[in-house]
């Protein structure tokens, strides 16, 4: 089987079944969003692909071979977590270089790309500061720089732009689009915001039900709009949710929540 195949038979937490019967195949370079209500198991799924959670039955393979050695993360992986997760005691540059440490140790001829990468994400002037001195948006830029500096073939993102104001989130999405066009990794992007998934992804996996499974595998019709709140995106999301009534009930609760917070709402 070609591409990344995620096959999860059962994933339990303390005996409780949370994920079941997931079998999706993603081809290289695809941008796949994983959408579902909070607590459905999106992050769990991502951690399993990242090799951070090996306690499940099933297999994650690429072109038929296991994605990673047991207990390890797949090689050539980039990951952006929900929080920036920068080391507060390392400067921004050293945080980015940390991701290159393996390459630097392995390959004597390798020259760090950290400075160029930081320049690219607009943090050229903040290389020598500690993350604590940066704004939330800037910390996420640094986390993006760290993920892309290794030129990953597989990029996992776990709601990387939550709790940012709309302009900052839009800028970061634009940055992601630009970096992705250059490196072309296979992206798994977890979000609970349907509109965000619609403007970024080629394909959306909707997780729902208890225990969670893929309730809809949706190929996105490109609207050409990059704005979460544009009429095109709103219309697309309305059509999508109208066609799939079950989906609506699954995601509706989240949408109400989004509206109340007034950020990136439907």
């Amino acid at each position: 089987m070609k591409g990344l195949n995620i096959h999860v038979i059962e994933k339990r937490f303390d005996g409780v079944l949370v994920l079941t019967d997931i079998d999706v195949t993603i081809t290289g370079g695809e941008f796949v969003a994983v959408v579902g209500p909070s607590g459905v198991g999106k992050t769990t799924l991502l951690n399993m692909v990242a090799g951070l959670d090996a306690d499940y039955t099933g297999a994650i393979r690429y072109d038929g071979v296991p994605l990673a050695e047991p207990g390890q993360s797949p090689p050539g992986l980039g990951m952006v977590f929900q929080e920036p997760r920068l080391m507060p005691w390392l400067t921004v540059r050293d945080n980015v270089r940390l991701a290159e440490a393996e390459r630097l140790a392995r390959d004597c001829g390798y020259v760090s790309r950290a400075d160029a990468m930081l320049e690219d994400v607009g943090l050229g002037a903040s290389r020598e500061v500690w993350p604590g001195q940066l704004s939330g948006g800037m910390q996420r830029r640094a986390a993006l720089a760290r993920a892309f500096v290794v030129e990953p073939w597989l990029l996992l993102m776990d709601e990387p732009f939550v709790s940012l104001d709309l302009p900052a989130a839009n800028q970061l999405r634009e940055l992601l689009r630009r970096l992705r066009a250059r490196v072309r990794p296979l992206v798994l992007f977890v979000t609970h915001n349907v509109n965000e998934a619609l403007v970024l992804a080629d394909r959306i996996l909707f997780l729902g039900d208890t225990p969670a499974r893929v309730v809809l595998d949706y190929r996105v019709e490109q609207t050409g709009s990059h704005d979460l709140n544009s009429p095109e995106v709103a219309a697309l999301s309305r059509r999508l949710l109208a066609r799939h009534q079950g989906l609506l009930s699954e995601v509706a609760g989240v949408d109400v929540d989004e509206g109340r917070r007034g950020k990136e709402g439907l």
Binding site: A50, G51, L52, Q72, S73, P75, L77, M79, F81, E83, R85, M87, P88, W89, L90, D94, L98, A99, A101, E102, A105, W130, G132, Q133, R146, V150
Partner: protein, 283 residues
């Protein structure tokens, strides 16, 4: 409290004075009175000055050679320093303290770290640790002298053994508090083990290691004097035992004072700057 903070707080910035009013000038002088490390030294030394004052009064009231005055003790410090005896004995004891400190910190941190990382090792060694924490210092010292002879090695091992369990406990706590989310970052990016240790784990341990080092210095020099008294023929501990036999309280206090001053100098000159450097990212 607000009043104090306003006038003496470490964040005080000296202001230029527009008026020539005497009180304003006096205030300017007071604000200007600061050494490179700020005015906190005034507060730090206040209690010590108070202690000396109380001591002076008590010594005068008592008027006995059981409690010499601070001046008499300082004179003794000067006398012993001139004769070269005090610096020599101080140096010998200090060298032993440093050796025991380095051994205790190294061994303690390694064991504590491993116990914090491995559940099995922790279960295996936890009983031993509790036992070690509760063996009296004196027993360890006597046994070391009996088994290793009245040697330099014995005294350093004995003192280090007294400190190691305490270092282990603190380091283990610190290791358990290491943030798994940051370790996940290291795993995801395949950061080599040594780099993970130095750039991800150790910085999280520094507060614990600093606390351990500071307590360690205090504990070690106290135990060192007992160990010297029991089995060495030089060092501050040995000198104190001689003075003890002659009821020479002035000399006992002189030696104590001198050694305490050295330890405080290490605290101010090494420990505090080191801590500041290690935590400067907190800003």
């Amino acid at each position: 409290m607000r009043f104090f903070r306003r006038r003496f707080g470490p964040g005080d910035v000296p202001r230029t004075i527009g008026r020539t009013e005497p009180r304003a000038v006096a205030r300017a002088w007071w604000r200007g009175l600061r050494l490179p490390w700020g005015r906190s030294w005034l507060w730090r030394s206040a209690s010590l000055i108070g202690l000396v004052a109380v001591w002076e009064i008590a010594a005068r009231l008592a008027g006995s050679n059981m409690l010499p005055t601070p001046v008499a003790v300082l004179a003794a410090v000067y006398r012993y320093t001139r004769s070269g005896q005090l610096p020599l004995e101080l140096g010998i004891t200090l060298a032993r303290v440093v050796a025991a400190f380095v051994v205790a910190m190294t061994v303690g941190v390694v064991i504590g770290f491993m116990m914090g990382r491995s559940r099995k090792l922790n279960l295996l060694l936890d009983g031993l640790l509790v036992l070690a924490l509760n063996i009296p210092a004196l027993v360890i010292i006597i046994l070391c002298y009996l088994w290793l002879g009245l040697t330099e090695v014995a005294v350093i091992v004995a003192v280090a053994l007294n400190k190691i369990p305490v270092v282990v406990v603190t380091t283990r706590e610190g290791t358990r508090a290491i943030d798994a989310r940051l370790l996940a970052v290291a795993q995801v990016y395949h950061v080599p083990r040594t780099v993970t240790l130095y750039r991800v784990m150790l910085p999280q341990l520094y507060p614990y290691l600093m606390a351990s080092a500071r307590n360690g210095l205090a504990l070690i020099w106290k135990i060192m004097l007992v160990a010297e008294l029991l089995g060495r023929s030089n060092g501050v501990g040995f000198e104190l035992s001689v003075f003890f036999q002659f009821f020479d309280i002035t000399s006992i206090l002189a030696y104590t004072l001198a050694f305490a001053a050295v330890v405080m100098a290490i605290e101010a000159g090494v420990m505090r700057p080191l801590e500041k450097r290690l935590t400067r990212w907190r800003g």
